[in-house]
């Protein structure tokens, strides 16, 4: 019971991270791409106004998920920690570069093309590298011999499933980001930016849905058990597809960009929770299941109380942050 609650909360946080981080990562790429095409003056104002107050919060979502996972399921630290030393460290370095660059950029480095390049490219490499952790959780990429746990790098790099996940991560980041920024630019009454960003959103919509199918079918060969579970919950994935179609329709009709983004979020929510639910009971197939969770009942209770207390603090604060920067028309318009 406790472990179910734990994994649901954690999964929700990971979902939150995927949405807010995607907006950030995609924004970096669009900013670089449009600089190359000399259109950056169109969208950089919008991007900056949104990212400045929230980039640090984005980062915390990730830490929160990791700490929570280790807290609730200490075995994950052992398996993933040992296996992921090298890829994890590389991802960390990328995250560090990107995070610090954002703050540095405010004070002069912004116009520098190398800077823009690093910022844009790390924005795509980070989701790709983080997505491989989900790949590894499907099993088949880790060997365990006694005390020795190793990541089978060659297997990971040659697996079609793992590449499908990477592609999905990349295109989803761009799609989520573009649909949010379209809404934000539209709210800012910045017609030129909205037009450009809308074209990005539509451009990345079909690759996203295509990549989703790719992942869906490559799981079938990689982990049939998981695939069968997914079929049992196929209604969730159909709902996801439905939400995608609505979002795309709204984008094409150039209206209700806010709702379009809500449906994009729902599209990913259904798919993400469907994926997560069908992955259970495994956290790392077949070594860790969710029953390998906290063993002390008192610690379990304390964690749940801590969670609830923390959420009571966080949710109002996040709402305040959004009201001040996201839904404050004056701020959004840069006044």
């Amino acid at each position: 019971m406790l472990e179910m609650l734990g994994i649901i909360v954690l999964w929700t946080f990971l979902y939150g991270y995927i949405i807010v981080a995607s907006i950030d990562f995609g924004a970096g790429f669009f900013s670089f791409y449009s600089k190359m095409r000399r259109q950056d003056h169109l969208i950089n104002g919008v991007i900056d106004r949104y990212l400045s107050p929230v980039w640090e919060v984005t980062n915390v979502f990730l830490i929160f998920f990791v700490v929570g996972l280790i807290g609730f399921f200490p075995d994950t630290a052992y398996y993933y920690g040992t296996a992921l030393l090298v890829p994890g460290s590389i991802a960390l370095v990328l995250i560090s570069l990107r995070g610090s660059f954002y703050a540095f950029a405010h004070y002069g480095a912004r116009e520098n093309t190398t800077y823009q390049f690093v910022y844009g490219v790390t924005g795509l490499l980070i989701p790709a590298s983080l997505a491989t952790i989900l790949t590894i959780s499907e099993g088949g990429f880790i060997s365990v011999e006694g005390e020795r746990i190793t990541l089978l790098m060659d297997k990971l790099l040659t697996s079609p499933y793992s590449w499908a996940v990477v592609i999905l991560a990349l295109v989803s980041v761009l799609f989520i980001s573009a649909s949010f920024l379209t809404y934000y630019a539209d709210k800012a009454k910045d017609a030129a930016a909205a037009k450009l960003l809308r074209s990005f959103a539509i451009g990345w919509s079909l690759p996203t849905i295509f990549a989703s199918f790719l992942v869906f079918f490559s799981i079938r060969t990689h982990n049939p058990e998981h695939f069968d579970n997914m079929l049992d919950m196929s209604w969730l994935f159909l709902l996801s597809l439905g939400c995608f179609l609505i979002a795309l329709a709204l984008l094409l009709k150039k209206r209700n960009y806010g709702w379009a983004f809500v449906f994009v979020m729902l599209q990913f929510a259904f798919a993400f929770f469907g994926y997560g639910a069908s992955h259970l009971p495994y956290l790392l197939y077949p070594y860790i299941t969710i029953s390998d969770s906290v063993t002390s009942p008192q610690m379990g209770v304390a964690l749940v109380i801590g969670f609830i207390a923390g959420l009571c603090l966080l949710v109002p604060s996040l709402i305040l942050l959004m009201r001040l920067f996201l839904f404050d028309t004056k701020y959004v318009q840069g006044k």
Partner: protein
């Protein structure tokens, strides 16, 4: 010294922490100074203080960014480099780790609001109020993370069965005997070091010949803060000494080269140790002081190293680390005290060159003291990672390539350090205080 996985993991962890702690200390301390300055500015309707708060905060965004990313590094390295430790102890420390993340989250949200809402509210106190959750968040996150470290020093609140930690009592584990001394000493020293860092900026401008009223006010304000926090740190250091004597006697004994258990113990400062005879040469010996530090009584008995099996003793060079930290602590109290006395007597020498240089040096020394204190505390509990329960050598990762990761992160920190310095320099060179003051004047 053998460069096996354990040693490499230790070096990488200390590199990350050693780098992170500079920015972490600033992250905890600077919001306090900023908030007080803004409050004074609003209350006295003095734009100088508001400009001060704003300028500090602007520089702070750069240091806080480095703090956040290096903090992310150490947070994840805990599992990447010490998976066996996390498997055993992860559950016992999960609550404070969680709470730390919450506190940090809270701080991140309100820092964003605080930074981007200057002049947005009619009532200036509304903006000031947003600094309170920032301070609460940063100080609380320092507190929670210190309870984790304290737990590793004085583990309690669980039972050990078949190499597994079971029956955890979360609050007992969190509020272990090491928590008060560690958290208090660390938080106060972070406040003090940040005040010194800000004081050094003002002192530097004075040395360069700029003696605008702004610098005078800013120097005075920060040095007074530094004095208060330095005294607090020193007083709390005494609590920390008494904790060591009671719970980790070998750490204190190794720090003081105190071999025989005896009353009326003397404190040794500096000196050289003869490894054969365990005799100390050239050291300054202060009679009774160690007994006072350890027990509060000049005649109190202090446990000596001879009672501890050789393989469980920490390395003896920590004596120098301890001495360095304590000596700097003394310096950090004396310099601001002297400044305040001179100012009080209205002596011009309060801002004389030697005084200004002494303050400037104080900033560097305060961060050095934090580093020394940390290294002392961490190396002083070797060979244990979980004091009395788990040795460090059994906790490190078994994966390959730790050495390569050490180089990778070394380059990252070098790069971040250089860029951070350049950006900060450039930021304030391009925008001297006169600009900000002129802008403030225009508004009022």
């Amino acid at each position: 010294m053998e460069l096996d996985n354990t040693m490499l993991a230790r070096i990488l962890t200390s590199l990350t922490l050693g780098f992170h702690i500079i920015f972490a200390a600033l992250g905890v301390g600077i919001p306090v100074a900023v908030s007080i300055a803004e409050w004074i500015g609003i209350r006295k309707k003095n734009p100088l203080y508001l400009v001060m708060a704003k300028r500090w905060l602007k520089g702070f965004t750069v240091t806080v960014a480095v703090g956040v990313v290096t903090g992310t590094c150490i947070g994840l390295q805990l599992s990447l480099l010490w998976p066996s430790f996390m498997k055993i102890a992860g559950e016992a420390i999960s609550l404070p780790l969680f709470l730390e993340t919450f506190a940090f989250f809270f701080e991140a949200i309100f820092l964003g609001i605080y930074l981007y809402t200057w002049d947005r509210f009619k009532n200036p106190y509304v903006h000031w109020l947003f600094s309170i959750p920032v301070i609460i968040g940063s100080t609380a996150s320092a507190f929670f993370i210190m309870t984790v470290n304290a737990f590793m020093n004085a583990p309690q609140g669980f039972t050990l069965a078949d190499g597994k930690i079971v029956d955890i009592q979360p609050l007992v584990a969190m509020f272990n005997p090491a928590t008060p001394s560690k958290a208090g000493h660390m938080i106060l020293s972070a406040y003090a070091a940040s005040a010194f860092a800000l004081a050094a900026i003002a002192a530097y401008q004075f040395i360069k010949g700029r003696n605008h009223e702004y610098y005078r006010k800013s120097l005075h304000f920060t040095v007074v803060l530094a004095l208060i926090f330095s005294v607090g740190t020193a007083v709390w250091g005494d609590i920390a000494g008494k904790f060591l004597a009671k719970y980790q006697p070998e750490k204190l004994a190794a720090a003081e080269w105190h071999f025989e258990t005896k009353p009326n113990a003397e404190l040794i400062f500096g000196g050289m140790l003869d490894k054969e005879t365990n005799e100390v040469k050239y050291g300054i010996k202060l009679p009774y002081v160690l007994s006072i530090l350890a027990t509060g009584k000049p005649t109190g008995e202090v446990k000596g190293l001879n009672e501890i099996p050789e393989e469980l003793r920490p390395p003896l060079f920590i004596h120098y680390l301890f001495d360095g930290m304590v000596a700097i602590g003394g310096y950090l109290v004396i310099v601001p005290l002297l400044y305040v006395l001179l100012r009080w007597r209205k002596k011009r020498s309060a801002t004389s060159r030697p005084m200004l240089w002494a303050i400037l040096l104080g900033a560097l020394l305060s961060f050095l003291a934090i580093e020394l204190g940390w290294i002392f505390s961490e190396i002083g509990r070797q060979p244990w990672i979980l004091y009395g329960y788990m040795k460090t050598q059994h906790a490190a990762t078994t994966a390959d390539n730790v050495g390569e990761m050490l180089i990778l992160f070394g380059c990252l920190y070098l790069f971040l350090g250089i860029v951070c310095t350049l950006v900060l320099r450039r930021m304030f060179k391009k925008n001297p205080v006169e600009n900000d003051l002129a802008k403030a004047q225009d508004i009022h």
